[in-house]
Subunit: 512 residues, 2 copies
């Protein structure tokens, strides 16, 4: 297949330029895939599923073909990113871009194209069966397709492990969290695991009885209007994005056109609203990436823990703060025609920060959430490393939940069937949620120290100072720095759990 | 770029199988493009435009690369479609498939890949300027981008003309109407042009004063509900499609997932409703294509005149028939809470079949519609053949409208800016509308003779007999036959204007 950007006889500077053109085309394919995924989740009728699977697998295969074409490797070997750099800063961006290109290329070269298409098809097929199995709580129904998918994921992990010189699990993790390692995660998670049970007991003891919950029904059009207004106040640009509905909320699309989804519960407006704030945090990161580098790998977000930090910063650090909830309470009360105790700012704050061990990760409060992630991390690692049989997953899941949170799921719908990730092929992803929560705490703390008005402004419903600091110190950096270097520059230190634990202690033990 | 389905040492039968795999991948790319187009028209925020243009151009380029890869030509040269045919019928399908593959390949090979991407980008850019220029009626605003696009279209016409051995305009026409020729169209259009002016005068004289129009406002949710119910009664399968809103109504997506759009006017429910019936006609054709050949070129619709015949058959032949309108009148009256004379079946029928020369093609009745098409056909042919300068288009348009219909557009919004086609790059497309209208009349007449209950059933709101006949004689044939052969098998004769003229005469001079 002719690759029209392929140079006949090239100099190092034209090789770099050709590489940029190649990666701009790859980016356009990735964005196309992202929109087809959004469509599938938000608007596609059920009958379109099998042809959509063909489209996604074909585009994944073409992407892989183009990325692993022999001339891509030749261009990488030849390219001199500094030859035509316009400034030292431009040179730094170009060097970082070539580093990202090299990393992405190494990941792709580890896999044969047939495996890439097979993974896309198996993930799509397994996800479809999972959609039937979940409401039935029937893990046996999906075990076969999940086994096939897991087999391909393990093949992929083994191939990438060999190519990258790391352990298989770390090779999967590196897809979402470049430079991440399970050794480091183990250390952080062990620290949390030692902290959580005792802390949780103290929080539950201290918080006492639940605040009265605002009474519904909450009409969906009103929830939509409140959600949109909130997105706008956070700084979301609706000229470059939408808000829709899907079963599993997400933020997809491209930086120029972000597709957010949520799901509405007529009995509880708080779940969709906090979901919207969460996804808006993701979207603001994408909308703040360096505009003139968007077509290049260096213009992408710096891995999933940083991405999750932005959503959790808006949802957990700012959105559930006493200052923000106090500011919003009158407007929410007016929008929903609420009356009584439950709509007082303090009641709403207690409602939004209620801690309670439960079965469902996405409904979990920020104190128990890490336990959900630790359970999944330990299980997926055991499955990838072949230390556990897939058939043992439901029981192992329930045992772990009981051990960490003291609750045992009565069925698999509330247990190992609840999340889409494994059934969709995203193995090695879960730890980034809790790394993200810790990063969010550390970043918000640093921002608030650097710009003292950030907290008071949030209390006035004004996110401009916060967004401005994030735009400069996180969003506009793209992949210029490693995750560690980004955090060191922004917060003065690499990631650890201390600020997160201090935040939890302040919010749940001291400040209430 | 490696083409993983490329055979190392292949037999004629494996070459054919490899060709089928290659074209299944091409089909998946085409479908991806179709969904991105739907998204762009129906849901995309304005800020997504430039990145969407990148996605569409990149996919168009990848499609072209894959289609024109050297091993595609090798497989075509080697392939024996009959070697593994399972039956004589299967063999006929395989032979027809190879013929379509060869035709599509010849079109693609005529164009360099850079021109394909440039055409995609120029069409996208010109369409965006047209969206600004149309409401302003400012042709000068879009003349530059249109000139660039027309230049690329002419380059493409010239290259295809040389490769296919036909005139440049016919090479463009062949993209939409395989085997079509302007010589034949000239004959048919001359015939119509001789018939229309006198006929139009007699119709207008006979029809007298306009029937009272049903009075609105017609709430959009009610229009949507009526439209959906109508689609279901026509036989549309909502498990494999949707109805949405766009500025320019269309039927897009893939046969497994058809995306219909309409636009609503709160002052007039008839326009959106007839639009919905029209697009449903397109959709039923796609939903009736041969399921087991959908991934192959032979499984596609047999050109745009046959496609348009299906929409016009449902809209003009069945939808505007006295029998159907009489059946629907009470339901429409109830849905919109209508009262008075205007809601009587006869008034509605006269309203739906009112003939009146006007400026806008998509609002035209079926008597004046051919004049709109003839104007555009003559102008686009002159522009492609270089017999006219682009700057002369507005005046030439207005002159032609005055000559054929006796009305002179007062501005370009009502003149040469009204349609998207040229600004989007679809040159050589317009004649298929009127070929389609004539085909619709001829097909509906043949179906009604073959199955006498088709007419009475439509009067009961039952489209099953009609759809059944179309499924067998048109839809399920895909590209098995040429357009001429398809029409000969279905109606006993090749296309001419006689049945269309007889239909117009009966409906507008005899039956009222």
């Amino acid at each position: 297949m002719p690759t029209r950007s392929s140079p006949a006889a090239v100099s190092p500077s034209t090789a770099y330029a050709a590489l940029e053109r190649r990666f701009a085309r790859l980016r356009a394919i990735e964005d196309s895939i992202a929109f087809l995924h959004w469509d599938q989740s938000a608007v596609m009728p059920a009958g379109g599923a099998s042809s959509r699977a063909d489209q996604l697998a074909t585009l994944a295969g073409l992407h892989h073909d183009l990325l692993t074409a022999p001339d891509t490797a030749e261009m990488i070997a030849l390219a001199d990113p500094l030859a035509e750099a316009e400034s030292a800063e431009d040179g730094a961006w170009r060097l970082a871009n070539l580093a990202e290109i090299t990393r992405i290329h190494a990941h792709a070269m580890a896999l044969p194209g047939d495996l890439v298409e097979a993974l896309s098809r198996a993930g799509n097929a397994c996800e479809r069966v999972w959609r039937e199995a979940r409401p039935l709580g029937d893990f046996a129904l999906v075990e076969g397709p999940l086994g096939q998918l897991l087999g391909l994921v393990r093949d992929s992990a083994a191939a990438k492990a060999e190519a990258l010189g790391v352990a298989p699990y770390d090779a999967l993790l590196d897809q979402y969290e470049p430079g991440g390692s399970s050794a480091r995660i183990d250390g952080i998670f062990d620290d949390l695991e030692a902290f959580l049970p005792d802390f949780l007991g103290r929080v539950i003891e201290r918080q006492g009885a639940a605040a009265e919950a605002p009474a519904g029904p909450f009409p969906i059009p009103t929830q939509q209007a409140v959600g949109r207004a909130t997105m706008e106040s956070l700084g979301f640009d609706f000229d470059h994005g939408r808000l829709d509905v899907s079963l599993h909320p997400f933020c997809g699309g491209s930086p120029q056109d972000l597709r957010l989804t949520t799901r509405y519960d007529e009995a509880d407006f708080t779940s969709a609203l906090m979901g919207v704030i969460h996804e808006t945090g993701h979207a603001l990161y994408e909308q703040g990436l360096p505009r003139d580098r968007l077509s290049q790998p260096v213009g992408r977000a710096r891995g999933m823990s940083v991405h999750e930090s932005q959503s959790l910063l808006f949802e957990m650090q700012a959105g559930r703060s006493r200052a923000f909830i106090s500011h919003c309470a009158p407007a929410w009360k007016a929008a929903f025609g609420g009356e009584g105790e439950a709509w007082r700012a303090d009641s709403l704050y207690r409602h939004f920060t209620r801690v309670e061990p439960g079965f469902i990760r996405v409904d979990a409060d920020e104190v128990t959430y890490p336990a959900h992630v630790i359970v999944r991390y330990r299980l997926e690692k055991a499955l990838i490393e072949g230390r556990m049989a897939l058939g043992d997953l439901p029981t192992a899941w329930n045992d772990a939940m009981e051990r960490l949170l003291g609750v045992r799921p009565p069925n698999d719908r509330l247990g190992c069937l609840q999340d889409i990730h494994w059934y969709d092929g995203a193995w090695g992803y879960f730890p980034t949620y809790t790394l993200g929560a810790m990063t969010a705490a550390q970043v918000f703390d640093a921002a608030s120290r650097a710009v003292p008005d950030i907290g008071p402004a949030i209390g006035r419903g004004d996110f401009t100072p916060l967004l401005g600091w994030l735009r400069t110190h996180i969003h506009a950096k793209g992949c210029l720095l490693s995750t560690d270097a980004l955090l060191r520059e922004a917060t003065g230190r690499p990631l650890d759990a201390s600020v997160f634990k201090a935040h939890l202690t302040r919010r749940y033990l001291e400040d209430r």
